[in-house]
Amino acid sequence: MMELLQAIEQMGQSLLGVAWVPVWTLVKIVAIVAPLMIGIAYLTLAERKVIGYMQVRIGPNRVGYYGLLQPLADGIKLMFKEIIIPTGSNRFLFVVAPVLALMPALAAWAVVPFADGMVLANVNAGLLYILAMTSLGVYGIIIAGWASNSKYAFLGAMRSAAQIVSYEIAMGFALVCVLMAAQSMNLGDIVHGQQGKAGLFGWYFIPLFPMFLVYLIAGVAETNRAPFDMAEGESEIVAGFHVEYSGMAFALFFLAEYANMILIAALTSIMFLGGWLPPFDVAPFNWLPGLFWMLAKMSFVLFLFLWFRATFPRYRYDQLMRLGWKVFIPLTLIWVVVVGAWMQTRFWLW
């Protein structure tokens, strides 16, 4: 596999010269984004199926075997719907907002390693880049809410902005603990830091267990997923920020939400669950390629997302703010100090 890639690279370099680097990068981007889009499509199906079975229903089962073609049917339906731009809305920003929502959700994938060395951009400040990119997603939402010229959309945007800014702080501090433990901001090095004889006991979810929970819950809040989906709140503000959107413009918000979910799942796997590492470094486990373990862990975290949605009722807004500011932020601040002190002792085994 590696030899084949090297051979392709050599051939390309001799064939295209300087132009090879952008072309090869483009190929890599397509190789990440295309499976991601398929993943998003089938995540929507998985969500409907999983929640269906949790509620003793079957879920979609008409289009294709077991409803397997349902996402395609939904996509085609959305594509042929008319995009209505409301009167009194800000035309330009109304159209740009869905793009701004999706762009950071895809851009963040640039630094995510899927297996050892299998990464588009192996940058040193990868963790920081991820934080910056995930913090940009809120622009799509608040611009959509404002440009729609609708009070429900605006209320949704306000809720979302406050929510995302609040939870980002806790999320950032949780990541500070990870980078302290790994002593690197490179996502690949963070996974390497969890490698060892102990297998899954060497992963960071053990010493940083509170941070693992904080990151996971803050991730649910950051992606506006139930039980923290006040930004949409269909029973209170109709559908929140995207109430005025239809057709593909709505679909882009939908894609952004699911892309963000998959991204949070990937990051949780990398930073707390050992990324591409097998749970035990012994015979049957390490035969499987790293990509398999990475995807398995991501699927597990995504299943948690769906499970949360089927289990918990929506939070009240003041409860959400309390959880973010009065529980998570103090907890993360304390754990930063705890990890710092712990690392100075002999009892730090990671």
């Binding site: 040193n124 920081l128 934080l131 910056a132 306000m158 980002e168």
Partner: protein, 206 residues
């Protein structure tokens, strides 16, 4: 002209354009969004200088947090555009003088012989050079006192801002979460067993 220079001029032009639009845009929300663009292009320029930590932190802090709150406030304000724009020409000369002083200072610092000489020596670092690590080392060793001082000043500013704007309203209601959590079923629900009568009440027929 090398590729770096090309990118630099592109980003610099974008920054200047965005900064101009911040003060000329009619709609305050558009102005705030142009400020976001200005921050972004500045982050790009810093990235060119291999200051990736500062560049990404600029995006993270200013674009990701500060400007979001800024937009939040600007969108909620009921701004009268006419009122906002009146007095522009009255204050214009003052602004020009201020801008001229700032430009002079920048040229003075950046154009001095010392800056030019040291600036020319900045060499490209190897790929494994960590800008973040170096910055951290400098901040927490050589510049630890100024850094801590700045942190304390910021903390005092936060406390002062809250102290100045905090008003305890007499009629505001708040919840004691500890009490809410401590509530048991017995505190709220009383089961009353009412003996069921054999005869149906009036108005109900068998």
């Amino acid at each position: 002209m090398s590729f770096d220079t090309l990118v630099f001029y592109l980003l610099a032009a974008l920054t200047v354009f965005a900064a101009l639009r911040v003060i000329t845009a009619r709609n305050p929300v558009h102005a705030a969004l142009f400020l976001v663009l200005a921050f972004f292009s500045t982050a790009g320029i810093w990235m060119l200088l291999e200051a990736e930590f500062l560049a990404i932190t600029l995006v993270l802090v200013y674009v990701g947090a500060v400007m979001v709150l800024f937009l939040f406030v600007v969108m909620m304000l009921d701004i009268n555009l006419v009122q906002l724009r009146e007095g522009f020409w009255r204050w214009f000369p003052f602004g020009v003088v201020l801008a001229a002083i700032m430009v002079f200072e920048m040229v003075w610092v950046l154009g001095s012989r010392q800056t030019v000489e040291t600036g020319a020596q900045v060499a490209k670092h190897a790929a494994d050079y960590s800008n973040t690590k170096e910055l951290g080392r400098l901040i927490y060793t050589e510049y630890v006192y100024p850094f801590e001082l700045a942190a304390v000043v910021l903390l005092v500013a936060i406390v002062a801002a809250i102290a100045l704007s905090l008003r305890h309203r007499r009629d505001s209601k708040s919840q004691d979460v500890a009490k809410q959590v401590a509530v048991r079923r017995e505190d709220r629900v009383r089961i009353v067993s009412v003996p069921s009568g054999k005869k149906a009440g009036p108005g109900i027929e068998d």
